[in-house]
Symmetry: C2
Subunit: 222 residues, 2 copies
Amino acid sequence: MHFTTTEENYIKAIYHLQQGTGNVSTNDLAAELSTKPASITDMLKKLTIKKLLRYERYKGVRLSNEGEKLALAIVRKHRLWEYFLVNTLEFGWDEVHEVAEELEHISSKKLVEQLDLFLGYPKFDPHGDPIPDSQGRMAVQQQINLIDLALDIPAEVCSVGSQSTELLEILKHKQLGIGTKLEVKRKFSFDHSIEIKMKSLPAITISQQLAQSLFVKTISND
Amino acid sequence: MHFTTTEENYIKAIYHLQQGTGNVSTNDLAAELSTKPASITDMLKKLTIKKLLRYERYKGVRLSNEGEKLALAIVRKHRLWEYFLVNTLEFGWDEVHEVAEELEHISSKKLVEQLDLFLGYPKFDPHGDPIPDSQGRMAVQQQINLIDLALDIPAEVCSVGSQSTELLEILKHKQLGIGTKLEVKRKFSFDHSIEIKMKSLPAITISQQLAQSLFVKTISND
DNA sequence: ACTTATTTTTAGACAAATCTAAATTTAAAT
DNA sequence: ATTTAAATTTAGATTTGTCTAAAAATAAGT
C-alpha cells in the first residue's frame, strides 16, 4: 500500500505524541502539524479507513500495529538520512533536520537498506536518537537529562531537546553542541541552575531551562 | 521561488522534448506525462504566469531562460543521484531511474553541492548522460550510435536508448549492458543487422533496431 | 477552396487536503 | 446538577491537479 507525504506526516506526528501514555488529542495534533483541528478530524477518518489507527470520535487516537510499523519505517529513514548527511556529506548536526524531513518520504525499500549497509548499520543518529533497524527494533538510550547528571561525572552531550532557533542560538553562544564533553561542578538549589566545566574553558553557569533541554551520556575518562 | 513536484515534472518533460528544434506540442507532452491534453493546457497557463515558459495558444511551448535553468537543476540532481546509487550504494545501472525520479525533487541546494563534492564531481551518469555542473554547463558526449561504429574499433557501451522492460530483457539475454566492451565485426546491408564480438564470448548478431538503441564510445585497446 | 480530420482549448466536474464558522460533545466549575 | 468553558466535529467553501465532453482552431485531402 502507498501513502502520501501528508499521510506519512500525520502518522509520524501521532507516533511522536503518543510516546508513553494515553491517546493523542486532536488539538495536540493540530499544534504539532500547524493545521486546524478540523483538518485533523478529516484526516483521522481517512487514516482509520486505511487501518493505520484506532480512532473514536471525541476520544482521541492511537496508532494500530500497521500504523506503528509505518511510523517506525519513516523514523528509520529520517534518522538514517540525518546520519548520512552529517557523516558522509559533512553537514552540521543542526542543519540536517529539514532536509531529512524531505528525504524520509522517498519510498524505495532497497534505497534504505543499501544506505544502512553503506553507513555501517549505525545505532544512533547525530542527535543521539536511536535508529530503528529494518524490523523496527531500536537500541535503548542510556541518555539522561543534564539536570540529573551527578557531580564530577564526565559526560558527553548527545541530544538536544528541540531544534528551535532560540535554543540553537544560546547553545552556539555558550559553545555547547552535540559531542561536547563536560562535567557538572555545582548545583544551586535556589534556581536549579548548574555550573558546568568543559575542557580548556572556564566553568560556566547554565539555567535550569537550558540544562533540561540537554541530554548526555556518561563517558569513561580517558 | 518554490515549485511543486508536478510542476517540476512538466518542466523536465518539456526540456527533454524540446531538445533540438521547434516548439513542444500539447499532445506530445500529454503522451510523455501520461495525462490528457486538457490537463496540459491548464498547467501550461499556470507555468506561463510563473514565467518558466513561453506559450501561445495552439502554437506549442518552449522553456524560458528561467525554465531551462530549472530543468538543468532537476536533470543535475537526477543524474547525480543515479551516480550515487550505482557507485556508492551498489545499485545496478538498470534499477536507479525510478528512485532518482523521486530524489530529484529534494530541494536542498546544499545537499546537491555536498553530494557532488562527495562523488568527486562526476561528468557522466551511469547511463552515459552528462551531468550538468552547478552552473548548468555539461560535457559534450562523444558517444556514437552503435550502428555507426566502424569495424574492428574497440568500444564500450555507455548509454542505452530507453529504459523499457522489453529493451532491458533482450539486453540481459544477450549479456549486453552499460560498460560492455565490444567490436563490430561485420555489417549486413540486407537488413542492417551487425555482428559484434565481446571478449571471451562467441560473436553474435544483433538487429538494426537493437544496435540503434545502444550508444558507445571508442576505447584505447589496452 | 471546401470539407474532413486532427489538435488544442474551454467549460464544468471531481478528489485531496485544507480552511472558516457553526454545531455538538465532553470536561470543569460553581 | 446546571451552567460555562474547552475541545471536537460537521458543513460548506477553496485550491491544486486532474478528468470528460463539447467547442474552437489548425492542418490535411481532394
